[in-house]
Symmetry: C2
Subunit: 157 residues, 2 copies
DNA sequence: AAGGCTGAGTTCATTTGTCAAACCCTGATA
DNA sequence: TATCAGGGTTTGACAAATGAACTCAGCCTT
């Protein structure tokens, strides 16, 4: 984005004015991102998240509380069959807004840390066309509700 | 992405196969993201980064070494005017690949943590059209070299 | 040649956060 | 009434972050 000579000495946007910098106060660490990834898939039960990502219970508890606190997730009661009432964490609208960030990160990881193939296919729910999160003209941006994802079979690593 | 009943109990993609999860091993924390943000703007000198984001020198040193180690940044010598040879950290291609992630995060922060106005305007270098990082059909995705950014005046918070 | 300045670190003591295991609480069921 | 399981909280050992002090090398001045 710049050659080594004639280097800018400071960022064009100060940290206080930068949405990315502010977002990092809300989602500062690896665990929080991994939790959000699970919530994105609708996996919202405490034990399910804990088992899958291997986070200590105390940390998961703190992170979930922070997410609820900041309005990214809600703690909702639900009933599974005949059992008693349980609770699940569900993304709010604000939390769902981070889905493109996670998908952009996934695309980068698939491209640069794997073989370039994603384990998740993204398509347009309406047209079936393949989708990505990428730089695009504003008027070509699609709303999240158009997104359908499907795991790709047989790809491992 | 799912209603509370009939919850999925696990993510459709295992962590080992997920590009996002792998990416988080490379960029696990707030400091690393803030450093990448500066490198994105071409701010690559140790002291400039340190002063601007308020990171302890020991941590900055370790993070920059990790970024170089993982091939996201290079340490390049350069000369500024009559002074002696210095070094600056510059994103590699792999590192530049994270720019859309940072821009997506910025968009989310601008929308949900500020007043919805960005402090940075993104336009198409060729057509001048406003750009965003968003969900889009694959064939509407633009390469990064089409991106031009310009700080927006007078907006503070 | 001696001394000083500066950018870019390293070292170190202290505080803070993470981890895993053990414990607790609540509501449904036997 | 006792028991059981999910969903936590508490605990104490351990690792990482912090900020101040220190180091080091190269250029600049004298």
């Amino acid at each position: 984005m710049s050659n080594p000579d004639n280097l800018p000495r400071k960022a064009p946007v100060a940290l206080e004015d930068c949405g990315a910098a502010r977002a990092l106060d809300v989602v500062p660490d690896r665990w929080t991102w991994l939790i959000l990834r699970h919530l994105m898939y609708g996996v919202g039960r405490f034990a399910d998240i804990q088992d899958d990502i291997g986070i200590p219970k105390s940390v998961l508890s703190a992170r979930l509380a922070a997410l609820v606190d900041q309005g990214l997730a809600d703690k909702q009661p639900y009933r599974d069959g005949t059992a008693r009432t349980r609770h699940a964490y569900v993304l709010t609208r604000k939390g769902r807004g981070l889905v493109p960030v996670i998908l952009a990160l996934m695309h980068w990881g698939d491209t640069h840390l794997k073989d370039g193939e994603s384990a998740l296919a993204l398509t347009d729910r309406r047209t079936g066309a393949p989708l990505r999160v990428a730089l695009t003209p504003e008027d070509a941006a699609l709303p999240l509700r158009r997104l359908r994802y499907r795991p790709v079979q047989g790809r491992t690593g």
